[in-house]
């Protein structure tokens, strides 16, 4: 009996190792973005657009601008950067622009950006683009804006000062920023404790759990 136990334990270990060896998991960032979010309001207190201002790290900026200085003057004009800006927003569409807006319990749909452009300053590229809400809506009691890349190819950070700006918001509206949880030992332990059967958490919750989502809450007092 002891033999039996011993050999099945060993086989089990070998199986676990085999699985570990072949396991595939999430990516890791090749793009580091310093971001700022802006919400635009109309005269009736409704949100009309979300504007993202994303500054890329120097390495990705250098890669992105490779070969774009077509007139070799050492500067990148708006015209030289325009095709790349277009490629950027077209590609971001598949990823829902990493921007998720919820009013109450309703997930808000965006139209394709109507304004977008790139600028280079001090070796860093900044992408500006504006996502119009399909239907403008007032923030009400609880609005949540989340910005994150669930695949973790893009690592976002927000400035401590003014991570979000509300443009022409009605009086009594305020935004609060909740940075992602640091991936500390406590979170790792919690993740490890989640039973395998519970790994089908809703996507947003799951990613919040690993600490990738930047969450803004907007509340307007009447």
């Amino acid at each position: 009996m002891l033999d039996l136990l011993r050999s099945s334990w060993r086989i089990g270990l070998a199986a676990v190792m085999a699985v570990g060896v072949s396991a595939e998991a999430g990516a890791h960032p090749h793009v580091f973005v310093k971001a700022r979010a802006e919400i635009l309001f109309d005269g009736r207190g409704r949100m009309t657009d979300v504007r993202n201002v994303w500054t890329f790290d120097p390495a990705f900026s250098a890669f992105a601008t490779q070969g774009l200085d077509s007139n070799h003057d050492g500067r990148l004009s708006a015209e030289e950067l325009a095709p790349l800006a277009k490629t950027n927003v077209n590609s971001l569409k598949v990823y829902a622009f990493f921007t998720f807006l919820t009013v109450g319990k309703q997930q808000i749909k965006f139209k394709f950006p109507d304004q977008y452009f790139l600028r280079r300053h001090d070796g860093r590229l900044t992408l500006f683009y504006q996502l119009p809400l399909a239907n403008p809506i007032a923030p009400g009691a609880y609005t949540r804006l989340e910005i994150f890349d669930p695949e973790y190819f893009v690592a976002f950070t927000f400035a401590k000062q003014d991570p979000i700006i509300l443009y022409q918001a009605p009086r009594g509206c305020a935004a609060q920023y909740k940075p992602p949880h640091p991936l500390d030992a406590g979170i790792m332990a919690k993740l490890a404790a989640v039973p395998v059967s519970q790994h089908d958490l809703p996507r947003a919750l799951r990613d919040a759990a690993v600490g990738l989502a930047h969450v803004f809450t907007v509340t307007c007092l009447q």
Partner: protein, 329 residues
């Protein structure tokens, strides 16, 4: 050991092998992903940080991110300090180690290939070294030709590497199909050709434990090893390309090349460790299971067919995913 106990043992081992196989195919899912900015396609990825090892991979990703950041900063710092070169090499090496633990179909293909074609640990190390070095050299080659000489844009460079990715998936599929052939139809054909019918049972047991080098002529096996190496090494990693183009823009191309070679060395350390573990785990499991050679051979054979299928399915899935949005133009 009594007859009864042996029978139970066999059932348990067969069940464990079957479970391992099912788990292997379950953990395997990977799909090609499009770049969120239209340039620098991310490595193929599985579900982000889920599964029993999710926490571990989140931790790995965190460190990769840190090392990658440190790497690009070290590269930027070289202009100001001589010590930065050693720092850059060290950080690149560590990044390579962590990066290889992360996403990528390379490990699955290499370890499966080594297990199924019954390579020795020594050859496993040679093959993983060749694959890691090739991946680094591909990145260097692409950036030298595309950026330094032709001065193409990031979009065009990304298209080029997307093509390499498709070639890589075709090769993965081909390696999987070849392994499956050798383990099923090819094996039978071979046995019919060489084993006298009267000694079939005896011959089968003893013979099949001999590595496949005997099954196929040696040069052919070497060429298949190259196919597996190419399948894994032909697609340069986005991180390496970004670092090289950044280095080029800073007029530090030599430092960039050094960094990428150090990365390859790190990748080699990780993948060869996994390959050695996989090959030794199989040997140890077989030895300690205490099975007679006929049973051991049967179980191994089932596991190998599973491994071959895994590589084939992985190749097809990756290829399907990559072609889903149309060919890169």
């Amino acid at each position: 050991m009594t007859q009864n106990r042996r029978a139970r043992l066999r059932i348990i081992i067969a069940a464990a092998a079957a479970t391992a196989l099912i788990l292997l195919t379950q953990v395997g899912p990977a799909w090609a992903v499009r770049s969120p900015f239209g340039i620098a396609t991310p490595e193929t990825t599985g579900p982000a940080f889920t599964g029993p090892l999710g926490g571990f991979f989140a931790w790995v990703a965190l460190y990769q991110a840190e090392f990658y950041k440190a790497l690009t900063q070290a590269l930027g710092g070289i202009k100001h300090s001589g010590h930065a070169f050693a720092l850059l090499a060290g950080v690149s090496f560590l990044y390579g180690i962590f990066h290889a633990v992360g996403p990528g179909h390379g490990k699955t293909v290499i370890t499966s290939y080594l297990l199924v074609s019954r390579q020795t640990v020594k050859r496993g190390i040679v093959i993983t070294f060749a694959a890691a070095l090739m991946q680094g050299l591909m990145a260097i080659g692409v950036v030298l030709i595309a950026a330094a000489i032709l001065n193409v844009t990031a979009v065009q460079m990304t298209h080029a590497t997307d093509w390499f990715e498709i070639i890589s998936y075709v090769l993965v599929t081909a390696v999987g199909a070849w392994l499956l052939w050798v383990k099923t139809i090819g094996r039978r054909l071979h046995r019919h050709a060489h084993a006298p019918a009267a000694h079939c049972d005896h011959d089968h047991a003893g013979h099949a434990l001999v590595p496949d080098a005997r099954l196929l002529s040696k040069p052919l096996t070497v060429s298949r090893a190259w196919a597996a190496t190419l399948a894994v090494g032909i697609r340069p990693c986005s991180g390496a390309i970004i670092v090289l183009v950044f280095a080029l823009s800073q007029k530090l191309l030599v430092a960039g090349i050094g960094s990428v070679l150090a990365m390859s060395l790190g990748t080699f350390i990780t993948v060869s460790t996994l390959a050695i573990l996989a090959v030794s785990a199989k040997d140890v499991a077989l030895r300690f299971a205490g099975l007679d050679s006929v049973w051991a051979e049967r179980i191994m054979h089932v596991v190998e067919i599973g491994g071959a299928l895994l590589v084939l399915l992985l190749g097809l899935t990756l290829l399907g995913g990559a072609l889903d949005g149309g060919l890169p133009t």
